[in-house]
Symmetry: C2
């Protein structure tokens, strides 16, 4: 399909920020952006859309998510973390199966797509169900089945997880015309044995995947690792080879200055999960220090059980303000920084060189914002407006690889009512009511 | 008008939290709630609405706002506070007149009403314009013209402000069938002389208004007051008589333990402004300590120049999570606490005994949430859903004093397009573009 968007405002990604082209044209040819400019391009188009008053911007990239956890939204709110995790989350998680993961993933996609996410990085289980849901919906996803291994008695389950990860890679890496990429993953230091980390890092390096981990999310995790191994989780992962391939670490709340230098040296991307870190009482990731060290910082929602939604506009907002409050300095973590985290930096983390920015030759992974809203007036600064004022509900179009997935409240690749019907069935199966 | 909402879920305010009545009835007779229950009430109704899948809840009360500052939205983002305030805000503010304040207030009301605010407390100037806009729109508002007085050379302006405050009180207190209440106000310690605070507190006490102030918003303000007067801003206000009437203090970020005891003793309400405190780098208000002291804590957006919107669902969310992150404890500042701040506590602050909770005899100040949204499923905990997952855009009805102001995206008392047209004119006059 050839699309032409005319009279649109277009947000362009520059070396160190963003610029804007007003009342301009953007053309899409099949999966790619074929033209951006002030003059109307020549040629024939299948669809011409007048986008007066709409802003075209790169789709948002959510780089740390557990999509199926939407089914656990709101359970155990305001409880201590251990009680929440072990008494409220895990018993429900144990009841998931391939079918309920499929239904849960589809529910998550409704939310993600309508709020402007065009690609996400997901870590969970029964991942082929999530992959199938993404292929059908047309969204991009980097999916991983994390390795966990508690002790030797757990060897049977560990082997099963490894088989699941291998099967996932073999069946789905590059699926959906390349929209699905399979990552490898070690869940976290506190949930995995050293020998498994070492072995799985070699596997991942060999097949050329990326390594998705949780890192120093809580003080307890960070300090207990030091007690146990005499080193931080980051150093532990590095020593076991997990950073000898493109790796990315969610949370990074308690990492030390030495850890920051290590992540920078190894080229590990850090995923900032501000809502989850606040809600669970984990703390403030040292974003400013990581920025200074040159680490590629991205944004993620984490699962909806600890967020409690999958709305990247909320992450943009919360990431843009909390560090000012914590550091007593309104000049740190600027909105241009957070918008880059949620777009171009996320694309880099995912190993997708051809998305995250609107430019000719890149994939047409584009969202449109309806700027005709009282809370988006006046527009004195577009990037500030997007990060501090805009809502997920201002997204009026979501296009991935040149295909429109969502427009003006309608899903074009997902049957919304069927997904909600199935989600109700899954809820009953999982929660018993 | 007599309304009957049938098959609605209804959020009821209890002594220490909330309860929910499902698939129930709520009737409105003229301005009041006349029935809430599981059985269909007898009698005739002018309008019967099937609210299956919709939640009725008390309208949100925004207790610290500078509504006309919407025109300054996004200006000077990420700048140091002093530069932002003196170089970016004040030059524009100096250009406001009665007409542009009217247009700006109307723009603010579009946003507030559509995101579920039924009443707000506003501090700004040319207040009669704001009052007129509120009367026409049908929203409730406590409005004040703050006293400011920098030095003796400023006496002329001080007198003018006093006349404006008096005129506002005489013309508008109780206007709009009681929906408009006029408060008195001292802007802040750092902007007012002692003699003026003392004199104006007596005036306010005599006319039975409430006193709206800024208190210890920044470290600089708090510490410079101690240097200058040998006491904290709270003690300074108390000693000058400003707390000898019902008073409420915005921000309260840097108040000491002694200040907290003082506010509790004097019955001063504290307004929590989490977005603004984060964005401007002011810091974390000691909400947990204030809760323990029994202070009436409420929620406010502050102006859109430092927020950057007037969406109380964002304040609910941010207030519910940031203290967990700051105190490294997920059990503090629960979502039931913040929802009470935004409803029943706000009503108490405003001196409105008959709103803030859905119960028979109270004003019909009601909002409805469309629960048929992917991000609001499953509902494992309604209050958690409202505070952590819901969006301002989920509001599908806003009713004040039994009159529907907004329903399903349509404004019933405001001409949206005219307001946006006028806002464009005001923008040109204020900003020159």
């Amino acid at each position: 399909m050839k699309y032409l968007f005319e009279h649109a405002d277009i947000l362009l990604t520059e070396e160190n920020g963003f610029s804007e082209l007003n009342n301009a044209y953007l053309a899409v040819d099949d999966k790619k952006i074929s033209y951006i400019g002030k003059e109307r391009p020549s040629g024939e188009f299948d669809v011409v859309k007048d986008f007066t008053g709409k802003l075209l911007m790169p789709g948002l990239i959510n780089t740390h998510c557990h999509a199926p956890m939407v089914m656990l939204r709101g359970i155990g709110s305001d409880l201590p973390l251990q009680e929440w995790l072990f008494e409220k989350m895990m018993p429900v998680e144990d009841r998931f199966n391939a079918k309920t993961i499929r239904f849960a993933s589809e529910l998550a996609l409704l939310e993600m797509i309508s709020t402007g996410t065009t690609s996400f990085s997901d870590m969970y289980f029964f991942c082929s169900s999530t992959a199938e849901a993404c292929i059908e919906a047309g969204i991009k996803a980097n999916i991983c089945r994390p390795m966990q291994s508690f002790d030797l008695a757990d060897d049977y389950k560990t082997m099963y997880r490894k088989l699941e990860a291998d099967e996932l890679y073999n069946s789905y890496n590059g699926a959906g015309d390349g929209r699905i990429l399979i990552d490898d993953s070690i869940h976290a230091e506190y949930t995995c044995r050293e020998d498994i980390v070492r072995a799985h890092s070699l596997v991942a390096k060999e097949r050329g995947t990326r390594m998705h981990i949780h890192l120093s999310e809580t003080k307890k995790e960070h300090e207990e690792c030091i007690q146990k191994y005499g080193k931080t989780p980051a150093r532990w992962f590095a020593d076991l080879g997990a950073f000898d391939l493109p790796a990315f670490a969610a949370h990074c709340v308690w990492i030390s200055d030495e850890d920051i230098a290590l992540l920078a040296e190894k080229g590990v991307s850090a995923v900032h999960n501000p809502s989850s870190n606040m809600k669970l009482g984990s703390g403030f990731a040292p974003i400013v220090k990581m920025q200074k060290a040159g680490i590629n910082i991205t944004l993620g929602t984490d699962g909806a059980a600890s967020n409690n939604n999958l709305n990247m506009f909320e992450e943009l907002h919360i990431a843009s303000i909390i560090h000012n409050g914590y550091m007593l300095d309104p000049t740190v973590v600027k909105c241009t920084d957070t918008l880059r985290m949620a777009t171009v930096n996320g694309a880099k983390l995912q190993g997708r060189q051809d998305t995250g920015a609107l430019k000719v030759g890149n994939c047409a992974d584009i969202i449109a914002i309806d700027m005709d809203k009282p809370h988006l007036f006046p527009n004195n600064d577009t990037v500030a407006l997007l990060c501090y004022s805009a809502q997920g509900s201002d997204v009026c179009m979501n296009m991935v690889d040149g295909k429109i997935l969502y427009e003006n409240g309608e899903y074009l690749t997902i049957d919304r009512e069927k997904v909600l019907f199935n989600a109700r069935a899954a809820k009953k199966e999982l929660l018993g009511y």
